[in-house]
Symmetry: C2
Subunit: 619 residues, 2 copies
């Protein structure tokens, strides 16, 4: 008997499958679904002011909680406005269930290539086909229910990602048979949720025996381990006793284990992290896609004495890696970590004491905040981050936007005791910070959320400053004011002789005067102009109870370093050093003492005095 | 000899091909192009604060001037942020040249399906394949130059639309041979710019003889006539002497010719326009895609005694039209109008005096602002529009956002003496108004630009309020405050029993207090609360010299009528009247006297007393 409206059946399904929050914006084409979800007693429907922000909020929600949130938008621009959020979630393997309203089914008869389908219908499947795990425009009401159920599973299976179900308005009001619905759910839930398994015994044996022979083994933990609960991951890594790096996206998956944690590596890596990476003799990566900012541009120079094992569930990511990556396993990273843990526990312990001591030495020798990061006239973002991270409580979540907030945030902050730190790492879209932080707060309102922004990037989702106020979110927002787009100014220094265009107030790009603006939204507002005042102002910021903004004024040309940069040789030529030799260059003696492989010829050729504190890189 | 950098060659090409303005946002992946375009003496590079706004500004720029503007964005989110603007331009046949920075060419080797290409590269061709005239990721520097040249032509040819050229960062700095470049330009410009022609002699004869026999012929002028210059179009229509409707997108293509202009028709049509449409015996459409809001839902009921001729250059649009549309010609609308003008001038004049008188009678009997549009407690948006349109100068351009601004704007305003009125009509994305108006101003800073917004929609591009201030645009912005999303409240009245969800402050959706907010941006600010004060406040608004906002407070449930609505029969059942019978229903006598065909059975069945002023429609 057709006894339940599709929209109500979907609301009920979401709730039963563990969805608590839906971020959305209403329109004519999703009004039935909006009505049903809004009225459902166990679902909260959170209205934001741009659809891109809805997906970014769902992204932040998942990064905070590991729980999927849904997004509900309307046809036309409601659907097109999603794109940046969708690609961000896709890149970061974040599951999101996105339901779009759509024009009535009859408008779709062989008509997908009209410039507009019906009144405001777009060809959703074509646009989103290559940046979602699944996208379908439903043609029948029972199918729509089934697709939502399937998307809830698929979105989280193997490598997670967004799924889009496009539901025409006529179907939303159609009635379904509640018995049949139960059957559909049972059928869908029977399908295996993940298909990628762990390593074969042979591969595992090979990996284990290589590790047992290693003198300087290193694990590189990535976002693919997110599906392990934090406590389990913590225990596994602790027990393994092998030094580890984390990718930026995996930064806060476990509390740092002091003697094993090498931090980050990459073109904006920690110095110690890069030296450890480059000194390793066996490198095993777990669920990290080894993006260029991580592995650098030249594969041959990556961990150049190491045998490399790559564990990733996505064959596309494995295919992209060249011959430098000897052992590529399409396998589930959490399962492999558990297999490895079990296998290594069964034999004698690894004898890597000297290697662990070397790691300690590197970390002690090379502080995260470099000497150049102090400023008399301004506030240096690195110095500020260090103080903020220390002063903030252990239940703080830092959500960053891009540029200065991203780079100095991830180079300096080492979340401790339950602190969290994340952003939209893969796409790196300006504007993520604010809605990401909104999502994080809804995922756990008991935590302190600090959103780290820059004056340029905040503009991209400025409208949702109002949502912080309207939803009474006691968020603290830091705006680093660097007069425009600081990272791009450094790009201009590197590639167009320092000429400015569209990067600062002198070249056609200004940002608003944030003080009056955020006060008009309803925030309290503080400023920080001098490093000397940082401690006090940070204290005041953390003591604020309601939504508040702190604007931090930094040098408009502050260096974002250490960074892998093109540098100058003794002969005055440009040269690209290997990943361990970040700018500003450290003295040769120090480099040599911390690197367990011979110093690279490129490093030998550099003129360390001339190059000092250059800080700019060729793209 | 490779003597010119690709980026500089492109800047030069744009300038030589008549591009004056480029709207853009810089990033690492477009920094060479940004540098070259910013420094070019004949190009203005306008920085906005969201890429969607850049395309919308180019849209408004073209609607104002008929001149193409370019858009320059970076890779990754710079490219994904374009989507809504691109689909809007696509739907409205607006040419835009969009150049995207992209990851270096080497990142594209068989790698398009990785979730992220290089650092921040997305698969541009896949995303934009079905909503642009062309999209290509270039692999070679000479090719990149050629593709930009081709896009400049293709974008404007036949049915215009956006073209995307995606240029990897390594190519941007490559050197080209300036002789070879000249050759490429010459070759590209030789390709015919348009391929669709006028009517064959046979088709023309058939159309002409049908028109000569007609007693009630009607032209429906669409956006496809935009490529005719205004003066020519004016003369052609004047000479033809046949009553005409305009599509909403074509509203301001010519100054209204009083005795011929029937206004608009459609589900939110003018009453007179709909009655004339339904009374016509020959209907000829020129370059209008006959969207549902124009033609209504039931083809059989459209102009039901008329023979219909459709002239459109896009075969996809012709294919979508059913058997009601007898004569479908794939032809260039401007050419056909000229052919028709010539052919009709050669014989005796049409004898349609009574028909023209009938049109005058209909227009005089049925004012654009209905009786219900007066308010004692609030300001009615229809009454306000009428006063504003009359008081504004003839050199005013009205750019609307959606919702109330769109509906009451296009139902009431009849641009006179050079006034302009436009929006993003096809996609109808909230947020268009502001960047569209910014683009219109750059296209002609000598004109007065009035941007008509609502409290809900303005949020979608709120960030670019700052651009109005930073670029010193003396824009006047009207915000109709209707407590949320008024059109969707009416949808909720129609389809979910009036229950609110995410449409007003009582159901989870609030908008900011705009007064303090816009003042913080730097606007002056006025309010209008009562209709009695409208005249004075409008006078004050028009007298303002700098950027200013007027917030107009309207009833949060104000009707947006006349509108084609489901109504109630004598027997208490729901029924859908034909297009001429808009709600609130007019008396039967009046309907009968203004309709030259028999009253439709559905109209006969309606209970006109019960239905009075209902105003809500089933979707």
């Amino acid at each position: 008997m057709a006894d339940i409206k599709l929209s109500e059946a979907i609301a009920d399904l979401l709730s039963r499958q563990g969805v608590h929050h839906v971020f959305g914006i209403i329109g004519s084409a999703n009004a039935h679904l909006f009505d049903a979800i809004y009225r459902h007693p166990d679902l909260s429907l959170i209205c934001l002011h741009h659809e891109q922000a809805c997906v970014m909020a769902a992204h932040g929600y998942y990064m905070q909680s590991g729980t999927l949130a849904a997004v509900l938008v309307t046809a036309g621009a409601g659907t097109t406005n999603l794109l940046t959020g969708v690609v961000g979630a896709w890149a970061d393997s974040v599951p999101v269930l996105i339901i779009c309203g759509q024009e009535a089914t009859k408008q779709f008869k062989g008509n997908n290539l009209a410039r507009m389908i019906g009144i405001q219908g777009v060809y959703t499947e074509a646009i989103y086909g290559t940046c979602t795990k699944s996208v379908i425009t439903c043609q029948q009401s029972e199918q729509a229910f089934q697709e939502v159920a399937k998307a809830l599973v698929l979105s989280k299976a193997d490598r997670p990602g967004p799924c889009i179900v496009d539901i025409p308005i006529d179907l939303q009001a159609a009635k379904l048979d509640s018995q049949r619905i139960k059957q559909i759910v049972a059928e869908v839930m029977q399908v295996p949720q993940a298909v990628v398994k762990g390593l074969s015994q042979e591969s595992l044996d090979s990996l284990v025996s290589t590790l047992r022979r290693a003198e300087a083994p290193l694990l590189w933990l990535g976002n693919g381990l997110r599906r392990l609960d934090g406590a389990t991951l913590q225990r596994l890594v602790q027990d393994l006793g092998i030094p580890y790096l984390t990718s930026w996206t995996a930064t806060d998956l476990l509390d740092p284990i002091k003697k094993l944690n090498a931090g980050h590596a990459g073109t904006y890596g920690g110095r110690a992290g890069n030296l450890i990476l480059q000194s390793s003799d066996v490198l095993v990566t777990f669920g990290t896609r080894l993006a260029i900012p991580q592995k650098g541009y030249v594969d041959a120079e990556l961990a150049r004495r190491a045998e490399v094992f790559v564990v990733d569930c996505d064959p596309v990511e494995l295919d992209k890696l060249g011959p430098r990556f000897h052992n590529k396993y399409q396998a589930d990273a959490p399962t492999v970590l558990q297999q490895l843990h079990k296998a290594l526990a069964e034999g004698p312990g690894l004898k890597i004491g000297p290697w662990i001591e070397h790691l300690s030495k590197a970390r002690q020798t090379l502080p995260l905040v470099e000497q150049c990061h102090n400023s008399k006239e301004w506030v240096d973002s690195y110095a500020f981050m260090a103080q903020l991270g220390e002063a903030a409580s252990s239940s703080t979540s830092f959500v960053t936007d891009m540029g200065t907030a991203l780079i100095s945030g991830f180079q300096v902050l080492e979340p401790w005791g339950g602190q969290r730190l994340f952003t939209s790492q893969g796409l790196g879209e300006m504007g993520y910070g604010l809605p990401g932080a909104i999502g994080a707060w809804f995922a756990d309102p008991s935590r302190e959320v600090i959103c780290l922004n820059c004056d340029g990037g905040l503009m991209m989702n400025l409208q949702d400053l109002h949502s912080v106020i309207s939803h009474e979110i006691p968020m603290k927002i830091v705006i680093f004011n660097n007069d425009g787009y600081l990272m791009i100014k450094h790009t201009q220094n590197a590639i167009v002789g320092g000429r400015r265009a569209g990067t600062d107030a002198g070249s056609g790009l200004t940002c608003p005067n944030y003080g009056p603006l955020v006060k008009a939204f309803g925030f309290s507002y503080q400023t920080l102009h001098k490093e000397d005042d940082a401690k006090q102002v940070i204290g005041e910021l953390l003591a604020q109870a309601g939504p508040t903004v702190l604007e931090v004024f930094m040098a408009p040309d502050q260096l974002l370093v250490p960074k892998l940069s093109v540098s100058i040789t003794d002969k005055g030529k440009l040269a690209s050093p290997p990943l361990e030799d970040l700018s500003p260059l450290i003295p040769m003696e120090q480099l040599r003492s911390l690197l367990l492989v011979p110093v690279h010829a490129s490093s030998m050729a550099l003129n360390r005095e001339v190059a000092e504190a250059k800080g700019d890189a060729i793209y």
